[in-house]
């Protein structure tokens, strides 16, 4: 999309005005038009550059994270090899076993379970907010969703630990730590993320499309299922990916209810350790290669989260192309 064939002309403007000050800043003869004064030009340009620098702090942030976490974590890749690090399934750092495959699988298990429980609930809530609820009920439910997003993760974890865990222990017969408890807590935690973004996506479907569907004799549900959800699907997929990102990166809530055993759980009520919780559990005593390995885990987590972000970008670009 090249709009302006004369890039030096007005496409890139400094002060919403013309390009640059007249070198000989003299107004043309008579009651001529005044030219941009050097002072104004430099002030506006300086401010714009200041704002640009602020915007670049975000880029610097990402770079710094890579730099510092990488600086601390990279040696473990060099030592055991990236392949062994990612592919080894034994995590026994005090014996020199630094395989995190188990942890990756466990993080995936926790995330996918939470999605399976939370995503339908969240999308249902989004549909409710955008299509079903009358304004009064909506004004009650939407703040609830926002509040859920605001509750600190440590409170979720605490709630899971003191209320949920004993209940689950009772009917499962174990201690109540484990996958199932984590699923429930994570499902509630990712619910507001997915619900809010899905609701936005549903709302941005033009009103005319709904009316057209009703006019053809479709019921509300048929309109939702066959027209609105497909029309909003890119936004909903984005929402789900963001929810996944939130679940896989969640730490404190998980550490309090997961039980934290570094094995693949042999059942949904068995304790397990994930990429995030291993850091919390081991950090207080880890030293040497062990500590380096924890930073290595952090690098992997960061890369995973960036892959999610990139995926969302690609999907929405693709979505724009198809329609």
């Amino acid at each position: 999309m090249t709009l302006d064939p004369k890039p030096d002309d007005r496409a890139v403007r400094l002060s919403e005005g013309s390009g640059r000050p007249n070198a000989d800043a003299a107004p043309s003869a008579g009651s001529g038009l005044s030219t941009i004064s050097r002072a104004t030009y430099f002030k506006e340009a300086a401010l714009q550059n200041l704002f640009l620098v602020c915007a670049c702090v975000a880029v610097a942030g990402v770079a710094l994270i890579f730099l510092f976490v990488g600086w601390r974590g990279w040696p473990i890749f060099a030592k055991v090899g990236l392949f062994n690090f990612l592919g080894g399934y034994v995590w026994h750092p005090t014996k020199g076993d630094f395989g995190i495959l188990t942890l990756i699988v466990n993080s995936m298990l926790a995330t996918l379970g939470a999605l399976a429980l939370g995503a339908p609930l969240a999308i249902g809530t989004a549909v409710f907010l955008s299509e079903v609820a009358n304004p009064r009920i909506r004004d009650l439910v939407r703040p609830a969703v926002e509040l859920l997003a605001g509750i600190p993760s440590v409170v979720y974890g605490f709630f899971g630990l003191v209320l949920l865990r004993p209940i689950i222990a009772k009917f499962s017969g174990g201690l109540g730590f484990g996958l199932f408890t984590v699923w429930i807590i994570l499902a509630v935690m990712i619910l507001p993320t997915i619900a809010a973004i899905s609701e936005d996506a549903l709302r941005s479907v033009p009103e005319g499309i709904r009316e057209a569907s009703y006019a053809m004799g479709a019921t509300k549900w048929q309109t939702i299922w066959r027209v609105l959800l497909p029309a909003a699907k890119i936004g909903i997929i984005d929402a789900i990916i963001l929810g996944m990102g939130r679940a896989i990166g969640e730490t404190m809530a998980v550490v309090m209810v997961a039980g934290n055993a570094p094995v693949i759980p042999n059942g949904i009520f068995a304790p397990f350790l994930t990429l995030t919780t291993v850091i919390v559990m081991d950090m207080p005593y880890a030293a040497g290669d062990h500590r380096t390995a924890l930073f290595g885990v952090a690098i992997i987590l960061f890369v995973i989260s960036m892959i999610f972000v990139a995926t969302i970008r690609i999907i929405s670009r693709f979505g724009k192309e198809v329609g």
Partner: protein
Amino acid sequence: MSDTLASHMTGVIPTDNHANKFSVQKLDFFYGDFNALTDITVGIKENAVTAFIGPSGCGKSTFLRCLNRMNDLIPGTRNEGRVLLDGNDVYAPGVDPVDLRRRVGMIFQQPNPFPMSIYDNVAYGPRLHGVRKKAELDEIVEASLKRANVWKEVKDIMGRGGLTLSGGQQQRLCIARVLAVEPEVLLMDEPCSAIDPTSVQKVEDLMAELKDRITIVIVTHNMQQAARVSDYTAFFLQEVAGEPAHLIEYDRTASIFTSPRDRRTEDYITGRFG
């Protein structure tokens, strides 16, 4: 076709004792690759009211916004040709569009008071340009509101938010706001299309009062309004969708409405299209 039109046009630019405030020469305007306006040559008379009429999408508002370089604010736009204000090209390199817009004020279709008090709305411009003294500001604010025919309605509620006024009052407040920076030209982009009939009357009255000292250009959909308020009228038309619009006819308002020279002008003012 546009060549013949242009030569035709120069012949019809009204000549009388009014000097040209703006003279526009062979202006072409582009949104990206789209040529929205082509070959506009027109002289806008000083201290008179000029109306731009034509069907929607005929480029009259776009042209209006070329006169004070408001189109600069839209990325990807450019123009060719010249726009001279008192003989000086407003698009010449180095010209400060910010100062140009102080001299060439603008009123928009949608009344757009700032979300601040009535007083601060009017004082905004003078403050921008360095007036600091309270007494001086008070004086400017009062004078501007009076000239804009809205003083009586707001003089006791100067501290209230500009957005609390009715649409018509808001529009007159916006006119006062522009008058406060003492522009030489006032560009009005369909100023009456979003306000109530009584306010329309007031705005039209004040245009008549202002034109002694200010050059006014008004874009309007309403031909009765053009006939009532303007001294000169220019008719714009985009004949084929996707093709650039151009100026069809420009003359004294009386002549345009009683004896249009162009068939298309006649069709438009008699309501045959648009």
